[in-house]
């Protein structure tokens, strides 16, 4: 009557979603928590990389040439397994000077010729990688000279002593897959719980402050639910992407070759599963909020949604592989466990398909039921409503 806006107005669910995002982004606690998480991820990875990657420069004091030669070959021996290791030779005049160099810290150890071999002298200990390399080099040198004295060819003597390894399952996990799966589950769990509580809290607050009556008189209640789900899914996925980016940044800065290309596929699937699983869970959290009349009621009304998050959590960490396999294909909970499995091992395609299909079907069903329950309970205040009551409530 008074306004005839000819331009089609923005759909109500989008306005609701935008309002949710705006409200969450204004919350200081949310911003601080997210910033701290990003910082912990970047700093954690960079620090781990720094300590793992630090060059190990060692100095060994020697008095004579034979010892100096042993130290040089010790560097080659050591570098075969540890390319960050360098060993420098420090020439000193005598044993006393060598010992002094060790005590003063000018050298990490001293290699002294004894009859018939060598001894390693350290202060209060010898760095293990140095001791290992020196011992191996010294014993080889001794072995060579002994063999020469006895007139034996060392190469003949060593024949057949090397035992190579042949792996039947080349897919065998080296720790990276397990670690990735672990991170997947933890991140899903933390984000889903914190976002879930935000959804339930936001709905309960609208009921508690009674603003919901104005909202319900303005737009269909279904749009309010969809807007909540959409807004919080955007925030949660944004957090996942932000954390993944922080992880990638950390790896790039520290120069660690984490073999990301091996788990890249699992990461892509993770985001897909996250969106599907989160949307289904989000509607449950919204219902939990609608059943509450005040914030205090949330503890009990959110229990089912929390349980749905704890099941995969425990299944992954405490279940055997059969349990993991079953859970990874079950609707909704698969969203957490399947990508974690995928990071660890090759998962048959049909199992992934079952997990996705089940989750999509469950998501559609849950959102439908949730919308009905939401419509019936949102405007009812005064007391907490039980799930049983909500499901049998007549349309009003």
């Amino acid at each position: 009557m008074s306004t005839t806006d000819t331009t089609p107005s923005t759909p109500a669910w989008r306005l609701v979603a935008e309002n949710e995002v705006r409200t969450v982004l204004r919350r200081k606690s949310f911003l601080i928590t997210t910033a701290i998480s990003v910082l912990v991820i970047v700093v954690g990875i960079v620090a781990a990389g720094y300590f793992a990657d630090r060059p190990q420069d060692r100095t060994v004091a020697v008095v004579d040439d034979p010892a100096a030669q042993v130290v040089e070959s010790a560097e080659q021996v050591g570098q075969a397994t540890n390319d960050r290791l360098t060993i420098e030779v420090l020439r000193v005049d005598d044993t006393a000077a060598a010992e002094r160099a060790v005590t003063d810290g000018d050298a990490d150890a001293a290699l002294l010729s004894t009859d018939p071999g060598f001894e390693i002298v350290g202060d209060d200990g010898v760095p293990s990688e140095l001791a290992g390399a020196l011992t191996a080099a010294a014993s080889t040198t001794a072995l060579q000279s002994n063999a020469a004295e006895a007139g034996v060819d060392l190469a003949d003597l060593e024949q057949g002593t090397e035992v190579p390894e042949r792996l039947l399952d080349a897919n065998e996990d080296d720790g990276l897959g397990t670690a990735t799966g672990f991170v997947f589950i933890i991140v899903f769990f933390l984000i889903a719980i914190s976002s879930g509580m935000m959804i339930a809290g936001a709905v309960a607050q609208e009921k508690e402050s009674r603003v919901v009556e104005i909202l319900a008189a303005t737009v269909p209640i279904r749009d309010l639910l969809w807007g909540k789900i959409a807004g919080h899914t955007v925030i949660a996925v944004g957090q996942v992407v932000l954390y993944l980016a922080a992880g990638a940044l950390g790896l790039a800065v520290s120069g660690i070759d984490a073999g990301l290309e091996r788990v890249g596929g699992a990461i892509a699937w993770y985001v897909v599963f996250f969106v599907l699983g989160f949307m289904a869970l989000a509607s449950l959290w919204a219902v939990a909020g609608a059943l509450a009349s005040r914030q205090q009621d949330l503890q009990s009304t959110t229990a089912p949604a929390q349980a749905l998050l704890f099941i995969p959590y425990f299944a992954f960490f405490f279940g055997n592989s059969t349990v993991q396999e079953v859970v990874s294909m079950s609707p909704i909970v698969s969203a957490m466990v399947m990508p974690a499995r995928m990071a660890q091992e090759a998962v048959p395609l049909w199992q992934t398909a079952v997990a996705i299909a089940g989750t999509v079907v469950a998501m559609v069903l849950i959102i439908r039921v949730a919308a009905r329950v939401y419509e019936r309970t949102l405007l009812r205040t005064g007391d907490k409503i039980s799930y049983r009551e909500a499901l049998t409530m007549s349309a009003d």
């Binding site: 008074s2 306004t3 806006d5 923005t10 705006r22 402050s209 009674r210 104005i214 008189a217």
Partner: protein, 292 residues
């Protein structure tokens, strides 16, 4: 025009609203009065679609009302509600947009309303930081922000001081002069001052409705008689009159059989008269009468 047709609402065994029919016409401020529990809020919630009627229907311009029609209405629920922790400017813009306004127009309109309420410098404050009176103003702004096509206000004046009431009345006169406006109130003096039409509800039923003038003249044929100096008590002995009150030289009488001309002749013959005037009963009396 909002038309309510045979609207009923039943909770279990209790009928809260019982076959209620009335219209709210454009440009007519319509008061909705009745005791607590008479069914005013329930009726308003059914008009706004937040509660489904057990029977009956609501029409907007003679056609069954749609969600789209209601989206253009302004509504102030009995239990006030806004976002306590959001800046007021932002939430008013949000409401305007939910009602279908464009972003640019919403911003303009919010600035205009806040300016009018002298809250322009508080636009970025959260609602909880405002005094109760100002919170009430924001609540009213929320129902007006989208330039509504009709207004349904449930007890809009409760909790307002007289100055705030005047501000609000001015605002409604400016913003909603041409709109169908239905408001409920306990304050009959306010209703009397503001309303063109009146609907009186009692125990879920409409017991009186019509224009305020009509309703008041529907009351008894009442006159005030004032003599120059003589006592008015003798009127008690006149047939065809019901004397309600005598105070020295003045009396308040209801005509019962006698007509106004006969009354005038009668009193003028008896003693010097200052005034014989029609006395309209106050709304409160009509209210008591119809809800008895």
């Amino acid at each position: 025009m909002i038309t309510v047709n045979h609207l009923s609402r039943v909770y279990g065994e209790t009928t809260v609203v019982d076959d209620v029919s009335f219209s709210v016409r454009p440009g007519r401020t319509t008061g909705f009065v009745g005791a607590n529990g008479a069914g005013k809020t329930t009726t308003m919630r059914m008009i706004m679609g937040v509660l489904a009627p057990s029977a009956g229907e609501v029409l907007w311009n003679d056609a069954p009302i749609t969600a789209q029609d209601r989206r253009a209405f302004g509504y102030m629920p009995e239990e006030r509600g806004l976002y306590p922790r959001s800046p007021i400017g932002e939430q008013l813009r949000y409401f305007a947009r939910l009602h279908g306004m464009s972003a640019a127009r919403a911003t303009e309109r919010v600035d205009e309303l806040l300016e009018h309420f002298s809250l322009a410098d508080r636009a970025d404050d959260i609602l909880d930081a405002l005094s109760l009176g100002n919170q009430q103003r924001v609540q009213i702004a929320a129902s007006l922000v989208h330039e509504p096509s009709a207004l349904i206000l449930d007890e809009p004046f409760s909790g307002l001081d007289p100055v705030a009431v005047d501000t609000m009345v001015d605002l409604l006169a400016r913003e909603a002069a041409d709109l169908p406006l239905l408001f409920s109130s306990h304050q009959l003096d306010l209703v009397e001052r503001l309303c063109d039409d009146l609907i009186v509800l009692s125990a879920g039923r409409v017991v009186a409705s019509g224009s305020v003038e009509e309703l008041r003249s529907r009351g008894a044929d009442r006159y005030r008689v004032e003599f120059a100096s003589s006592d008015a008590a003798w009127l008690r002995d006149v047939r065809g009159l019901d004397v309600l009150d005598v105070d020295g030289t003045t009396a308040l009488v209801d005509l019962e059989g006698l007509d106004a001309t006969e009354l005038t002749r009668l009193v003028v013959e008896r003693a010097p008269v200052v005034e014989v005037a029609r006395a309209r009963p106050p709304l409160s009396e009509i209210f008591r009468e119809v809800t008895r």
